[in-house]
Symmetry: D2
Subunit: 304 residues, 4 copies
């Protein structure tokens, strides 16, 4: 029963449903964060308060949406992973990406004053765009996560060296850029360098150490590895490829009894959402936390 | 040049580009706002502070994104219209809907304390999902806008009557629902009523007046008509269908000289973004504001 | 009621619905037709039998699917236009493009022996791929049609000159290519020329006339203009932009009485499907045949 | 370099790329085949010539497109499976579905006279629509194939009984329908029965045997099991779930040496394309033919 003759316009609306049985990654990115960094005087190459704020917002999002199994963040971006059996919002792309972008933004703005108590926000406010990508296999998903962590490493090493040359070495930004362009591959985050042909693939670690006595491996892990957020349970003994195989073999969402569903839900609610800086490229991270791939909550550890 | 062997995962990402030369409407909706209303004690049937906050956030979004030509809001939803010649973000759906949802959310959370100074926000924070719909012709766009305003009217008349029966008439919610179900058509906003067969299509205006001496037409326009937000210029003499025809005839974004573009940009920046409660169903609204359809800024009125 | 536990796989299927109120163009293209030309010894630059076969297949498709208002073909491609109010197959993209590709192929193969009685078909058989594009306004649609006809002109002029140089001038293909590359812009159909910088934008008409006494304008219209297929009614006096405006103003499929629908259907069935070679870029073609844009059948001319 | 000012219309065209690393199933369906059956007097419940023609066309399609690993057909439908590593046409949906629909149609029309020598085709010609669906895991793919084969069984058992009641039992169609409606579940192919509540889930096998002494299991396999078409190599000893696991673990198309690619291509070309009627639901079929899932050609058997 139409309320009015205008209601035909609803026919122009068509949802995009993400392919079932695939991992959904929703990546959000800060809009115009270079300007924002300058406006609020973020420290270079990394501002700990800004990173902590990103992580606090991500933790709130993961806590609020139990469908998210793991999130990984670096710089002004965060990737949220929904299990391949997830049916949240019937897997409608628009609902998923706007809900996560909006919820993240809400916490980022709300928590700002806790991390920047002396720097009130003003227009234009920080905001985040987002997109969804589907990955069919566990390997695809892990490769995606590895891609982001490798990117974190490449960018942070570059930025650490770049800003050392400026802050400790007294170089001009332009000169530091040129200096690094001929000694190392530029990363995707340095679009200005595109077109410059690096003639030497030298060691930025070496520059840092020889010039500034900085051992890159002693830099804080939060900057070198980025941040991973997930529900924590008791670690298990690695069982090799078995979990990944079992998960890849899944064809449709497991039909659970209501009781089992309730038990799972309670366990998830009890689990602590941790914020940590770990190597997510190696198998060990995934092997010892089978719940990340299986979506079956583990054993809640005794909290002290 | 790939940074790592993981970079192949980028191939799984495919953007959806919205059809060129169509009007883009991005509608955002508050998530779980029934709970939120209860949690923060919003007044019924309408909470003026909540509506003003929605409108303030929408005004900020329209101000920040000059590609938006007009916005219309009611209750916890807002529709933002991008001109059919808009090429923002290359018309990528994900970028558009997440940017607008996120920016709106940022202002909503940031401005909350101005409208609810005594009611601090707490988890879960308010958030908004969003979607994009394309409309090919001016008529389709206007019918969309009319659809939303008719919906506003139907819902507000229903809610005003419903809450009068409770607040002034001392009825229980259940009884008021039943009373109205048999006297009027339920709107899409009252899912509980689905299935109830209203046996009488009576006059809610009549109920309001006879029982409570309320003349519905004297209710505030902000509640009866919703809110429209747009850049304001000097009103013009209506020229009938000509503007709509000219706009429908447009085949591709008008190629303007850089000078013209700069002039337009400056005019848009100078224009006041107004927040008003007008009838957007009748021709008059559109005829006297040709810039809304043509996207050519009008004459900036002298401000006093 | 599922027939079997396997039926969940149906959930992986999602149709794409083409935006309502837009013109749908379905363009089909011969697959590997360069090889096919060689295999069956098509004449160069144009084989009349092959063109006639394409046109016969297109005529059969237009006759069989009354939703097609007009079709335009050149070389091994054909574009079929569905009116913007068309609701065939609920505008599902897959159904539309496969039905038209398949139906065209069926007639092409079936009619082959009428046009090539001495050259039986053999594997691999001719086949056609297809795609759908939506155009929101009459101007967009006409610009699409014009684009194809301009392309026809550019390619045919090039090919006529190219093959004259070879067939009449005794040049090698390689030399003719180079000769034209420096004297004229290559068209999109000559990918081999990409990268060659034509240094002179000379006149191929001039080459044809001075070298071979060929007046290009005397070449057959079927090759110079391509082919247009449509239902024919009595021509009308041009009414200028009015029809296009009226059609652009349409917001949704016109609701007609059953009687009117039946009358229209009968008229369409009576109309002769014509195959002609006309200028479809100029207004005159469209102005005198308003039914092509309005989708309202005209007056059926007396047939002699 | 645009050939003309009309070329902007190309921007309205956007391809849909099917998600990488997923199995692509393209299913084609005869259009209006009930009418076609009547027109050409197909035998009921199955016309062997018509089925053989379908299978011959499918065999030609599989032979012509080596990217197809297996096809399954029943009645007037055929499903073609592309391996999850397939990159044909960059996985563009439109190209894939139209190419397969068109190629199938070409062979169906071309081969018609071999199977129906006394029944020449006439307008409207047979045609086939098509669609693509992606399946992420081996299990999803196998469940899809099983779904079709179960459907074949259900429909054929129903049709065999239905037509026996008519042809051997002398019933009217209407009465046979009612008789079966109360004794067995209707299949998706009998839309007329929707709404009828079968009150007894009786045994059609029993009806066939008791009434007509027909043992359903002695009916021809081509009707009971449908038809499977694939490249044949030497059968291997089943290795259990290992092949499926390995294939599910694949993250991207295997990078092979040119030599290996050439070897594979030659082997595929040498392989016989078989047309058979086998149980594809059980593991055995897949376990003994690992090339179907792995896409690595097996050992070409000595042909006698």
């Amino acid at each position: 029963m139409a309320n009015s003759r205008f209601e035909y316009v609803k026919q122009f609306e068509h949802d995009k449903y993400l392919l079932p049985n695939t991992w959904i990654v929703i990546r959000i990115d800060g809009r115009g964060f270079s300007k924002l960094c300058a406006k609020y005087g973020f420290e270079k190459p990394n501002d700990r308060r800004a990173v902590d704020l990103m992580n606090a917002a991500a933790k709130a999002v993961v806590t609020e949406l139990p469908d998210i199994t793991i999130a990984y963040g670096v710089s002004d971006e965060y990737s949220f992973v929904l299990h391949k059996s997830c049916t949240l919002f019937e897997r409608r792309s628009s609902k998923l990406i706007t809900t996560i972008s909006s919820t993240f933004t809400a916490y980022y703005v709300h928590l700002w004053s806790s991390y920047f108590p002396d720097t009130p926000l003003s227009s234009p406010l920080p905001s985040f765009d987002g997109r969804a990508v589907c990955y069919p296999s566990v390997q695809n998903l892990r490769d995606y996560m590895s891609w982001r962590q490798v990117d974190c490493h490449i960018n942070n090493l570059y930025n650490t060296t770049f800003w050392s040359l400026i802050q400790l070495g007294g170089m001009e930004a332009k000169d530091a850029e040129k200096f690094l362009a001929v000694s190392a591959h530029p990363s995707r985050k340095s679009p200005k360098l595109i077109g410059m042909q690096p003639t030497l693939s030298a060691d930025k670690n070496e520059i840092l150490f020889s010039k500034f006595k900085i051992n890159y491996n002693n830099e804080p892990e939060v900057f070198r590895k980025g941040t991973v957020v997930f529900r924590d349970y008791e670690l298990v003994e690695p069982a090799g490829q078995r979990v990944a195989d079992a998960v890849d073999n899944l064809a449709e969402p497991v039909q659970q009894s209501k009781t089992q569903e309730e038990t799972d839900k309670k366990r998830r609610a009890k689990a602590r959402v941790v914020v940590d800086h770990l190597d997510i490229i190696k198998d060990d991270f995934w092997d010892r936390r089978p719940w990340l791939l299986s979506n079956k909550p583990g054993k809640v550890p005794k909290q002290t």
